[in-house]
Structure formats: C-alpha cells, structure tokens
Subunit: 132 residues, 6 copies
C-alpha cells in the first residue's frame, strides 16, 4: 500500500536515471529496489539519500558487513519492515550467515531490554565513564 | 537521580555477591558497574540479566567488538544515556577506535533516517525479498 | 486483522452515534474512519479522543495544514501505518501538495538522523540555549 | 558529558573550518553550535550532515518555520534533549511564538496517543485510503 | 532546563487556578507537580490534559495501581525521565512495593526484547490469533 | 513474510523439542506459537528467551494478568503487531475483559501523550521526586 506509484527506469527523468545507473553500477545488478523507485518522486531526496547511503555504507574503519549488521539492528529496533527485509538480504550478500543473523538479533533484543532496565531504575552514569 | 541506592559488595547478600564475583572474573576487573548495583535490589533480575548478557555478548559467529557496536547503535537509537556511555567504554576496551565509533554513529543515523523514508512512503517490500 | 469488529452507525448506541454525527458534521462528509468505529467499543475513549482531536487539530496559532504535517511526521517516526495513510489523506484534503509531502518526509528523516548523532555523541546543550 | 571534546575554530583543520565558515554564513552569526563542534571529530559526517541539513531545512514548498516545527515534533517524540533545545531556539528565530510552540506540542502529544490507539486496536486501513 | 518558567498558583490566571484547585482536591495534597505548572503556559492544553488524565487514571475495570504500572512501563519504554520519577512516586502512593516495581521493570525489559525478536524474524501472526 | 521457515515439532532437534515440551506443559496446550518456531533456528536464544519469559511472566508480587497488561502496553507502544495479537490473546486467557483492554489502551495512549508534553517542555523533575 505504497503512498506513491513506483517510477520505473523507462519512465524516469534523466536526473533520476542517473541515480538508478549509479545504484546499478555500485551494486553490480540491474535491479533497483522499490525504495529508490518511490523516492524518485522527490529527485533531490533520491539523489541525496543515495549519495549518503553509498558513502556511509562503504567499507572504511568498519567492514561493509559490520555496517549492514548495525543498520539491521537499528531497523529492527524501529520496526521498519521494509528495511529489515532488504538489509537482511544485503547483509547476506555481504557474507552474513544464519548464525551471524541470529546473534545480531539476540544482541538487539538484549540491548533493548537492558536500555529499559537502566532507564527504569534511572541509573546514574558511573563517575569513570563521564570523562571525555 | 537513581530510583534506588546502589548496593555495594560489602552490603550485598551472598546471592548478589556471587553475581558480582562472576562479573569481576569475566571482566577481569574489580569494578562493578552501577547498573548491576542497582539491579541488585532484585536479585532474580540481576542474576538473569547478567547470565544472558554474558552469554549473548560473548564472541561467537560475531566478534565481541561487533556485538558491542550493535549494542551501542541500539542504545543510541533508544537514547539510553547510561548504556551509551558504558558500552562506548566497553567497545573501546575491545578495540573500537575513534574512527570506528564515528562510522557506527553515521550508520546509526542513516538507518534511522532511511527507516522513516521507507515507512513514510509506505514502500512495499520487493517481491524478491519476500521469500523465506 | 483488527482486534475488534468495526461498529457501524446502524449498530451504534445513541452515545456513539452522537460522536459519529459530530465527526460527520465537522468533516463535512458522511464517511467515518475505521479508527472511530474501532474506538466505539469504548465509548468514553471515543468521545474523549474525538473531542481532543477536534480541539487540537483546529486552526489556531498554526494553520490546520501545518498541524496535519506535524501529525504525519510523528506518525511516520512511530511507524503507525494506519495514521500515516489517513493523515496523508487528511493533509491532502487541506492542501498538501506532493512537493510538500516530500519535503515533510525529508525533514522527518533528517531529524531522526540528527537526533541520533546528538544522542550518540552525547552533545551537551549549549549554554545559550539552557536559559528559560 | 559529551563523549568527545568540542573542536573550536582555532583548533580545527581547514576542512572543518570550511564547514564552520559555511554554517556562520548561512546562519548569519559567528556562533557555531556544539553539535557541529562534536561532529568535527568525523569531518566526513560533519560535511555531509551540514550539507543535507542546509538543503533540507531551506524554504521550499514548505516555509522554513514549518520545517522547524516538524523537526521539533520529531525531536520531542524521540526525546532528543539537545535537538529540542536548539530547534526550539531555531524555530523562535524564524518566528515561532509561544502559542505556536504550545500548539505544536499539543499536536505532537495527540499524534503519539492516537498512534497507539490505532496500533493497539490494530485498526485496518480504510479501503479508500489504500489506493496509491 | 525547562523551556518555560513554572507558573505558581499566586501568579496564575483564574482559569489555571481552577485546574490547580481540582488537581489539589483530586490528589488530596496542596502540592502541584511541575508538569502542570509548565503546561499552565497553554491553559487549553492544561485543562484538557488534566481532564483526560483524571478520567483515564481513575479506577474502573482496572485498579488505579494497575494503571500506574502500565503508565510507568510506557514511560520507561519511551525514556521519559520526568514521567518515570513522578509515576514511580504515584504508584508507590497507591501501594506499589519495591518488589512490584522490580517485577514491572522486568516485564518491561522482557517485552522490549521480545518485541524485537518478533520483528527481527518478521514472525507472521498465527492463524488462530488473527480472527477478531 | 517471516525471514525463516517455522520449525515444527517433528522436524525439531531434541534440544528444541525439550523447549517445545516445556512450553506445552507450562501453557497446558499442545499449541506452540510461531514465535518459538521461528526462534528455534537459534536454539540458544530459544532456550534463553523461553526460560526468562516463563520466569518473568509468572505470578509473583504482581498477578500474571497485570504482567500481561504491562507487556501489551509496551508492545503497543513499540508497535509490535505480532506481540500485540498474541499477548491480547494471552491476557484474555488470564481473565482480561474487553473493558480492561480498553482501559489499558487508554492509559497507554495517555502515557505516550504526556511523555511528549513533559519532554517537549523539558520539565525538570520536582525536587521532592529526586531523592532516592
């Protein structure tokens, strides 16, 4: 029940096609995800979102797979169904095994629980962790 | 402004001391975080929470550092000040550099943004990501 | 998969019908949204929720359209599918163009990202913004 | 209790200074918020975050003030203390009156409540709002 | 660091005083919480918020204490420091023991964890729970 | 659209069967919820999650029904569709009437609203609620 129809390559403006082309090149596949085809209704946001996604998710001090796992944990915490499915697939493509996924979910669940215990008891940050 | 006073080792029951001892042994430090000293008011939750934290955060299919980064990303998403400070320190102790922290925060921010774009446009999950 | 069946006008109690009538009059349409037909199972909550929605969403210091955009941004942040669809429609009825919707989503995504950067680095509020 | 010390202009690299200069020019003030001085530890994120903030928050189909109100509503929903203070100030600078702020908060609270009523009863989206 | 100064009884308008008087009568204390003194800047929201709080939190099919525990669990999940402190006190005033508080926090943490496991694995709702 | 196929009893390992058997015995039904059949892909998490769910949700200082209501309020706040459906059913099985459900939802909505008013105005915790 998307709020906008998806814009396919053949119906896209040159500006949008340029982004689709870059997505295809970067991901080495002809397939462009629905996310980008929906954002295409706002070319400025499409361009900006793709540029930052490409830059942020690239391997750097952290491997690309580790970044996908962090992305997935956040998406699950926020309950984004779309992002959970697509980044589960993206993480698998980068080498995530079923065991890795299971452990990432266990850590996500644990952190969500412990966050509430810390906030519920209003635990003060230990003196030693306060210094910059 | 904690809702309960912290229970120090010398004032703790044998049951609570046993958990503190295990925390100290596992972390190779005499220091016990305020979180555990607050939970000590509910020994069953202290014992259970420590047991699962120890089990879930141990290296397995994912390295211990990767787990700390996931934990941190979730804590930041939920805005748990206590957990952000303590797991920032825990991640550093396991080898997180400033560059790794910065990249983890950038991914956390990106996922939080993109989660809302996907949900805002109500993008349907692509057919290819729906199969189990 | 609603947890309660919807209560249609013909099956409603006089108390519930009075609220439906007021909704119809205020919105100048015979149509009553599913939300209200579900809340009708709890007439006190139906009455209270409608009264406050009518009062809060009315034009005041802020235009009705601006209020709809704020409502939409919150609903998207919380990932309420129902509210996103209905308030997208409500905003359109009050004049929201596709470009306005796109910009509202871009701001919503940006704020969700920057909120996490501020919380992740635990940035202290600037002295100048602390005074009442 | 920031996790990183703030980087002042005099201690900043040329890359960071260029961003600070652009912030100062765009905001017509010498003052640079702590947020940017913390992000300066990751120049790539500083540059990217400022560029998108500048682009997204600029007046377009929506006035700059309306964008600030949306940003504020999201920040309050996510409980970002830093962002609430700074964007309250930013909105005031763009013309937000106390009455506008009060109404924006009332709408934010209402949407947060109604989101949960819709999700709690699991209300199905009305047929008429499902079409693209 | 409140965004507005608190409005004390002696400085309040007759409209605001009437709400303060009702709060005092309902709670059998002269003390009025800061929350209401801040909301007093928006008399309409003060009046409306107090009226619904009084109505919703009153004993009904659920005891007043059970309602306080639900309120507390939500506040902890959302990390509202103010609400956690005040409703912890309110619940104690209605009979919450330390053991009850500890169990409420344990359930809150558990639900937050299991919510993410269900969302992370995208578990389909069982056929038997789908019927209205 | 679950990310993993459900593991039925006949296809389960002895370790997983032992958990299923305990679930059946504790709940006095042959039926095992999809949640557990999905978690069965990670036997350690299945075992741990069931053990803590069984321990935490058991009647103690709080009745089992009160715990279910707290669980439901958190699940609705986080918008976990799966947990809302299953714990609505679980609460009904423990005696929740329609009136109790309606009141629990009204409190959940109220707390979500008031949390934002308190955070939006950044109300300082009253002196009297700060003491441990």
């Amino acid at each position: 029940m998307a709020l906008v129809p998806l814009i396919e390559y053949d119906d896209a403006s040159p500006e949008v096609r340029a982004v689709y082309d870059d997505i295809r090149a970067a991901r080495r596949t002809d397939y462009v995800n629905n996310f980008w085809k929906a954002l295409a209704h706002d070319p400025a946001t499409l361009r900006r979102t793709w540029a930052q996604t490409k830059e942020v998710m690239a391997a750097g001090a952290l491997e690309a797979l580790v970044k996908e796992l962090i992305y997935l944990a956040v998406s699950v915490t926020n309950n984004c169904e779309y992002c959970t499915h697509t980044h589960h697939a993206a993480a698998q493509a980068k080498g995530m095994t079923d065991a890795m996924f299971a452990e990432a979910m266990a850590v996500t669940a644990l952190a969500n629980a412990n966050n509430r215990l810390a906030n519920g008891y209003r635990v003060d940050v230990d003196e030693r962790y306060r210094d910059t």
